[in-house]
Amino acid sequence: MNNSTENLQKEIIRSSGVNPKKCMRCGKCSATCPAYDEMEYHPHQFVYMVENGDIQPLLESKSLFQCLTCFACIERCPRGVEPAKLVEAVRLAVIRKQGANHLKADDIPALLDEDMPQQAIVSALRKYSK
């Protein structure tokens, strides 16, 4: 692991408050994830890859924006690992960079329909942009 990866790993672990070492690799998070099929890397892989400092592929993965923050993986993890918090910390590591917003305010009108509640827009902006 080079220096910058190690720093990134530390930053992700600190910001999420998650200790990936607690994982016993049972895969219950991925068994429970409703967005599993949309993801290229699955919740258990996030935990494993962050633990091993294999973070670059995660940064580039669309999986970051498929997590629904439904907290099901947090709820059902037998070890209290909280994978969703790790997914979020990796996502923040991406979008906090200058100009890296995944969703820009200008893009939104095109995505809207008449009935869409404000809550959806606000949440998406929170999750996808800084």
């Binding site: 607690k22 016993m24 690799r25 049972c26 895969g27 219950k28 998070c29 991925s30 068994a31 429970t32 994830c33 599993y36 099929d37 699955h42 258990h44 099901a72 059902r76 993890c77 037998p78 070890r79 209290g80």
Partner: protein, 664 residues
């Protein structure tokens, strides 16, 4: 003032090579209390011991310091030598000038100097030594086994075989425990009843064994060799001595809607019942919660049909008092509640069952007469999903699961999967596992057979959710090796529920002053070297009350516990370690600090009469150490705020004298 003799050993050149032994014996000659000092080539030899014996006689020695090898080597030797010469063996102290001086230091002046200091410390200590006499206590030659499962049965049989009387206390109406509920046993697949029930009969027929079924331990007093136990024999409203176990009452009882706990509530029994056909003792029991007669006074059918006249609605609980020399805890385990695992829909669907329920479903004497059917509709399941580690290795939430591995689930699930495929080859069997743990004789081979010969699908991954849909169970799971999320339409889901100690173990541990770990398993005296003894003297551990175990392991531990009990009961008297705590009753202020830190429950409080200066007497409670139970760790001596508690052989004054001598 003591008359101390100092004996410096050369140990050939082992000591003399680095320590000037003459200088040591000369220097110690001048220490207070020393009346004789010498050195010799091999103190532990017969000639060396004779020097000591002669000096004791000639110089009327009252204490001895041997400067030699580690006390772990020859302390016992020199104590015997002293005793042979009429000196109390506890008046001997060793200064370790070999392992802790000559062997670790190189040059003569420093080695000699240190040896002198170590000798001075030993002399200072002996000056304050007092003769000690180990306490003795008689042994009641009878053992109590608490719990009548396979662990308790094996322990009781082994003790009885050795000729000692044993009582088994079992809270259920019959002995047999969990093993009686099992169908087949791994890895040999012999039927549990076939190997267990003969042992149950042996217990019933052994003249040395009494069974108190439907009974619980009420109170435990006393200590090793001399326990006083009160046993509550719960009213079963049937006279055990008269009941023949014919079972007519259990067929005629009109109250038919009582959940049958032996079949885990999957069918019903009557209010008067015999748990299963091979029950020991085979006598009926009335369940007071359901009996119409006991509740309303109207019925009495069982009494009418009983030709032996064994029914007694007026029966009361009975308290039996008995003395025991040793107690064995064999309280066993239970699967944990699945209430907190509703992601697996245990409470939503009858077709989600635990492994123990599966045992009953496949057992010929079970609710479905051994036919594997779905509890909901009685249909044959074609797809079965087994989920491992439900509540085991669960560190997220203490209310939910257990942090430890339950040890037996991998093997019994392999057994279930194999038996299912064997009997019903048209069934698809999936096992979701995190790790397959099979350390045991012929265990891994067994698991591999399930996979290779019986075609059980083992999938590495966990089940996330079970959703009952119509008469199917949708199982959503991950296959970690294929990196896929699976959706399986199952007919039956079997959960390998974690196991936990029986709930009765915690209060029992309190009664026995035996310690427990955070999971309520009994703690062993030493995890490696004394695995079947509790730290509390005279209390032994058998079976799963000490930790998760399978049957072979339980039986070995049960026999090991029995061997320890036999060793104890074979003695006429127990000789204790004389280096035990003692309380100065005048200084004790009954704060109970000592009692709280004592790991053995050796400290109790007694009322003691004290004469006051004005010649009146006053009764005051003071701490009292049971010398038969105390192991001499000294925790209480430091906890005691008033300094009333001291440890014989390692008294506060003695240790301070050593400190002073070293720092002088």
């Amino acid at each position: 003032m003591q008359r101390i003799g100092v004996f410096v050993c050369w140990c050939g050149s082992n000591i003399a090579g680095t320590v000037d032994v003459q200088a040591v014996s000369d220097a110690l000659q001048n220490e207070p209390g020393v009346v004789f000092s010498t050195n010799y080539q091999y103190m532990c030899s017969q000639a060396g011991q004779d020097i000591i014996k002669n000096a004791i006689a000639e110089h009327k020695l009252t204490g001895i310091v041997v400067c030699s090898c580690s006390p772990r080597m020859h302390e016992a030797t020199f104590r015997k030598t002293a005793a042979a010469a009429g000196l109390n063996p506890y008046m001997v102290e060793i200064a370790n000038i070999r392992e802790q001086c000559s062997w670790v230091h190189k040059d003569m002046p420093t080695g000699t100097e240190k040896a002198i200091i170590l000798g001075k410390a030993a002399v200072a200590k002996v000056n304050l030594n007092a003769p000690l006499k180990p306490g003795e206590s008689p042994v009641t030659k009878r053992a109590l086994v608490i719990g009548g499962g396979i662990a308790g049965i094996q322990t009781a049989l082994d003790i009885a075989e050795a000729g000692f009387p044993v009582d088994i206390v079992e809270k259920k109406p019959t002995i047999g425990g969990k093993m009686a509920q099992l169908d087949k046993t791994f890895p040999t697949l012999d039927c549990a009843a076939c190997i267990l029930t003969p042992k149950m009969v042996d217990v019933a027929q052994n003249e040395n064994i009494r069974i108190f079924s439907y009974s619980e331990v009420e109170e435990v007093g006393g200590f090793v060799g001399n326990f006083d136990v009160k046993i509550r024999k719960k009213a079963r409203f049937v006279n055990e001595d008269i009941c023949t176990g014919c079972g007519i009452c259990t067929e005629k009882c009109p109250q038919k809607k009582v959940p049958n706990e032996f079949n885990l509530g999957m069918d019903n029994r009557r209010a008067i019942y015999i748990p299963f056909a091979q029950a020991v003792p085979k006598v009926a029991t009335i369940d007071a919660d359901y009996c119409t007669m006991l509740k309303t006074g109207k019925c009495g059918v069982c009494s009418k049909v009983c030709t032996a006249g064994a029914i007694d609605y007026t029966q009361k609980d009975e308290i039996i008092e008995e003395k025991y020399g040793a107690i064995v805890a064999a309280t066993g385990f239970n699967p944990i509640s699945m209430d907190k695992f509703d992601e697996y829909a245990y409470n939503q669907s009858k077709d989600v069952i635990t492994s123990l329920e599966f045992e009953r479903l496949t057992n010929a004497a079970g609710p479905s007469a051994g036919k594997l059917v779905r509890p909901s509709d009685g249909k044959h399941p074609h797809t079965i999903v087994f989920v491992q580690c439900v509540g085991s290795r669960c560190a997220a939430c203490a209310e939910k699961g257990k942090e430890y591995c339950s040890k037996i689930c991998c093997m019994y699930t392999a057994k279930h999967a194999m038996l299912t495929r064997d009997k019903y080859p048209d069934t698809d069997v999936y096992v979701f596992y995190i790790d397959v743990r099979t350390p045991g004789k012929a265990f891994d081979e067994f698991y591999r057979r399930a996979v290779e010969e019986y075609g059980v699908h083992y999938i590495k991954g966990m089940v996330g959710k079970v959703s009952p849909e119509g008469d199917k169970l949708m199982v959503q799971a991950s296959d970690l090796l294929a990196n896929k999320q699976l959706h399986i339409e199952a007919d039956l889901v079997v959960l390998a529920a974690a196991i936990e100690p029986d709930k009765s173990a915690r209060p029992l541990a309190t009664q026995l002053t035996a310690s427990m770990d955070t999971n309520d398993f009994f703690t062993e005296a030493h995890p490696k070297l004394r695995p079947v003894e509790s730290p509390t003297a005279g209390v032994f551990l058998s079976g799963t009350c000490q930790g998760p175990k399978d049957i072979p392991e339980t039986v070995s531990q049960a026999s090991a516990a029995a061997a320890k009990v036999i060793g104890l009961l074979a003695k006429d008297k127990l000789t204790g370690n004389p280096c035990v705590a003692a309380s100065d009753e005048l200084m004790c202020n009954v704060c109970s600090s000592c009692e709280r830190v004592c790991p053995y429950g050796a400290i109790t409080y007694v009322d003691k009469e004290f004469r006051m200066p004005d010649r009146t007497t006053r009764v005051r409670r003071v701490a009292s150490v049971n010398e038969a139970v105390c192991q001499g760790c000294g925790a209480c001596t430091v906890a005691c705020p008033s300094g009333a508690m001291d440890l014989k052989g390692f008294a506060t004054k003695q240790i301070i004298a050593e400190v002073d001598a070293i720092c002088r």
